[in-house]
């Protein structure tokens, strides 16, 4: 298959199917991430990349035999590796032996929030999550550096190509508040149900991306300007690491939320809320900023193509 457009669509379908698979394995948080990131925003960003590059794959020098061989060897090695894996839901599996029992038994009294995934992600493994946020921040920085920070890529406010799509405009206008509300719900209900900063940030960004697809990049940038986005990208990481520093100053270890309030459980609640907020802010800003840069580039390219 050489049509990259179809390949991107297949990737989206694959992500959606694996999200369903995760739901049936009771990993709802992962499923939500997979549906929002894998099926949603990645597809949009991939399409943006295709608009910047080419729609069909270049013809390669070699035949299909070499890739087929690589795939078969890798697949055989992976299947061989599964022989060593414990059976599904085996209580003696290493994953259920090491720290998991402690998390499951103690997190109710230590952290006091029902969703253990959130306690592990934001509190027990807070340092790893900080690393992930920094990775997202670095990715956003990379896109900004490659595709240009400068705001001078457009000269005139060219009307959006979607101007005549009345149905789309009306439906979008009524859907965007719902999407934003849902993102806020995911963000702040992440302690109790599935969700959290990563998923909420992506969904929040999806609303803005939808708006800028339908109403044009210029009107979207009037609502949330690239400078604000760059500020928010850094602000989220700062909120996260600042929470850690605050814990340090109040007498605990880095990212040890026990000291943030008068009693440890309350401190954990405050810390997790702040940290998830930081994650959400950074993810939203990076996603919107990456999309703005991609579509700004392809707009500029279309204009130069016309002239």
């Amino acid at each position: 298959m050489r049509d990259l457009f179809a390949i991107v669509m297949l990737f989206g379908i694959y992500s959606l199917l694996s999200a369903g698979f995760f739901v049936s394995m009771d990993a709802v948080d992962v499923a939500l991430t997979e549906a929002a990131v894998g099926a949603g925003i990645t597809t949009v960003l991939m399409l943006g990349t295709l608009a910047l590059t080419a729609r069909t794959e270049k013809r390669k020098g070699h035949g299909p035999l070499l890739p087929l061989l690589v795939v078969i060897v890798t697949g055989a090695a992976l299947i061989y590796a599964t022989l060593d894996m414990p059976y599904f839901a085996d209580p003696d599996a290493p994953a259920h032996q090491h720290v998991a029992p402690r998390y499951i038994q103690e997190s109710g009294t230590e952290i006091g929030i029902p969703n253990i995934v959130t306690s592990v992600l934001a509190s027990y493994r807070g340092f790893d999550t900080l690393g992930e946020v920094v990775v997202i921040f670095a990715a956003g920085l990379g896109v900004l550096i490659l595709l240009g920070v400068a705001g001078d890529r457009r000269h005139d406010a060219s009307p959006s190509t979607m101007q005549h799509h009345l149905v789309l405009r009306v439906i979008t206008k009524s859907l965007i508040p719902l999407i934003l509300l849902y993102a806020l719900y995911i963000q702040f209900h992440g302690d109790y149900g599935p969700g959290g900063g990563f998923q909420a940030g992506v969904i929040f960004a999806a609303a803005f991306i939808l708006y800028s697809i339908i109403y044009g990049l210029n009107s979207a940038e009037r609502i949330i300007s690239p400078a604000v986005l760059r500020f928010l990208m850094a602000a989220g990481v700062l909120i996260f690491s600042g929470t850690g520093v605050a814990a340090l100053l109040l007498g605990g270890n880095y990212l040890d939320y026990d000291f943030l309030a008068h009693d440890p459980v309350h401190g954990q609640h405050v810390g997790i809320l702040l940290v998830e907020f930081g994650v959400g802010v950074t993810v939203t800003a990076v996603m919107i900023s990456v999309f703005f840069n991609f579509s700004g580039r392809s707009n500029a390219r279309q204009e130069t193509g016309k002239q």
């Binding site: 799509h165 149905v167 789309l168 439906i171 009524s174 859907l175």
Partner: protein, 109 residues
């Protein structure tokens, strides 16, 4: 009473499943883009609505029913819009619908 509800809900579910399968068949077998889109959007709208209705009749708690109704609302909002956008994009891209009887002869076999 319960039997009536069960029969009704299974009728909805089966009708929805039938429409889903017929939509899939149409998506593969119809000759050109717009007829295929028609088949796919039947799956989107009526099939999904019937299945959700059947599930509403099966569900016990009020909360579940409210959630299903909300899903139904979102579906009736979004899927016709998606079909509309697809059709409009295709027209915009220069794809013309082929009126009946003017299709390529190979599609008649």
């Amino acid at each position: 009473m319960e039997t009536v509800v069960n029969i009704l809900s299974w009728a909805f579910l089966l009708a929805g499943a039938f429409l889903g399968i017929s939509g899939a068949v149409g998506l593969f077998r119809f000759p050109e883009f717009f007829t295929r889109l028609h088949a796919a959007s039947v799956t989107d709208s009526l099939c999904a609505a019937l299945i959700v209705l059947g599930l509403i009749l099966q569900s016990a708690s009020l909360m579940l029913i409210i959630k299903l109704v909300l899903i139904l609302l979102i579906l009736t909002y979004t899927s016709p819009t998606a079909a509309h956008a697809l059709a409009k994009a295709a027209l915009h891209g220069g794809l013309k619908p082929v009126p009946d009887g003017e299709g390529e002869p190979s599609s008649k076999s």
